[in-house]
């Protein structure tokens, strides 16, 4: 509870925009993943040009976060995966252009204080996302599927 209060305070102090607040919410350090509603909202907002750059900027920061914040990284990959499938047309070229950020996460490791490797989830997500992005046909199919709904 207090964590989310602090986050809300940080949002105000740092003067984040509405879009950035939504994204920070979706990629927070809480243990549960981002809700579908949040993901949908981000995908919707990606169609707006200003919001799009705000989203990508924040995601870039989150993806390069420290190992301790592995949840930031893992959730950012979740958001990115969703954007690639359901977001605006701009998302795919952006991610392709910055593919190295995701590719290099395939060997992400972080040992928590109990010596447990928490990097597995990041590695799997990064691997999945990379292979999706390298497969033009599959990506096109995925995007068409979503648009019909």
């Amino acid at each position: 509870m207090s964590k989310s209060l602090i986050r809300r305070a940080k949002n105000v102090v740092n003067g984040y925009s509405g879009t950035q607040v939504v994204l920070r919410e979706a990629t927070s350090n809480d243990s549960d993943g981002p809700s579908v509603e949040l993901l949908d909202e981000i995908a919707d907002r990606s169609f707006d040009n200003v919001s799009f750059f705000e989203i990508m900027d924040m995601l870039d920061k989150r993806l390069n976060d420290k190992g301790k914040n592995w949840r930031h990284v893992a959730k950012s990959l979740t958001v990115l995966d969703y954007l690639v499938r359901c977001g605006s047309e701009n998302c795919v070229p952006w991610v392709r252009e910055n593919l190295y950020i995701i590719k290099t996460l395939r060997e992400f490791t972080h040992e928590d204080e109990f010596g447990i490797d928490q990097g597995q989830i990041v590695r799997v997500k990064a691997r999945e996302l990379t292979s999706l992005l390298l497969d033009d046909e599959r990506l096109r199919e995925e995007r068409q599927l979503r648009q019909r709904d």
Binding site: K66, Y100, T104
Partner: protein, 274 residues
């Protein structure tokens, strides 16, 4: 020096510290991302050259792993920069003579050999990227001119042989204990690279076979390919026994028998076919 240069300098130093552990991925990744952000690898190499490499063999070994990683995953400029610094890399192999005090002398020498071979290959065949990721167009380019394709396959196989030899050397130097993570971490880029080469060689031999249309022409290539296949099969089996490796990357599973020249019995990536 700009702020970024300071950051990347810290990353290089931390990746190549004197502690006998794997180079921390976080720092290696920072170096790789730097080369993409700046589309240049000059800074990384010039910082590498300032490391106290003459004092500590673990630092040298970790520097070699880091260089390999950066060449593989970094921006294309890393390959060019690596070729420019070929002599410097070669000199690293001579700092610690084979029968030196520590146990790293021999594997440093072996690693340098792999890197030099790799750089030489990239200098001649500039169409390949650092990890030999499969790109369809490359095999098409090579087979429009079967002679050139033949050469490329031979060079790829030579590189594969050097990697294979070094893999054996590494395994023979590994004993039990946690301190071995440093040596084991060198296997990570080797697995990726050998598999990339493996896939390339197969598709190119098939393409040449289709083009030329007679089995006799590709017979020597195919025979050597089968030989490499079985050695690679064993190499991956050995790697699968190391928990540190299997948690970090997916070790490819090759089919028991080498795939035939005929296209049709496709092997799917990451899926054992029998």
């Amino acid at each position: 020096m700009s702020r970024f240069d300071v950051d990347v300098e810290r990353a290089v130093r931390k990746a190549c510290s004197y502690e006998e552990t794997a180079p921390k991925r976080k720092h290696v990744r920072a170096c790789i991302v730097y080369t993409w952000d700046h589309k240049s690898s000059k800074a990384v190499f010039s910082i590498l050259k300032t490391l106290p490499l003459g004092q500590d063999e673990i630092t040298v070994f970790k520097a070699l792993i880091t260089i390999h990683k950066i060449i593989q995953e970094g921006h294309g400029s890393a390959i060019i920069e690596g070729i420019k610094n070929r002599e410097w890399i070669a000199s690293l192999g001579r700092i610690y003579p084979e029968n030196g005090t520590g146990s790293y002398g021999r594997i440093i020498e072996g690693y340098v050999e792999v890197l030099l071979k790799k750089l030489d290959f990239h200098r001649i065949h500039s169409g390949f990227n650092g990890t030999f990721e499969y790109e369809e167009y490359m095999s098409l380019v090579s087979t429009s001119d079967p002679d050139q394709g033949y050469e490329t396959v031979l060079d790829l196989m030579d590189l594969q042989d050097v990697i294979d030899r070094f893999g054996r050397l590494l395994f023979s130097s590994i004993s039990s204990g946690r301190r071995n993570e440093c040596k084991i971490s060198a296997l990570v880029p080797l697995v990726g690279e050998s598999y990339g080469i493996y896939k390339f060689v197969m598709s190119m031999i098939r393409a040449i076979y289709r083009q030329v249309g007679e089995e006799g022409a590709v017979e020597p290539l195919y025979a050597r390919y089968c030989e490499q296949h079985s050695r690679l099969f064993e190499f991956y089996a050995d790697c699968s026994a190391i928990k540190y490796l299997t948690s970090l990357l997916r070790i490819p599973k090759l089919p028991g028998d080498p795939p035939s020249l005929e296209v049709g019995d496709e092997y799917v990536e990451g899926k054992p076919s029998n």
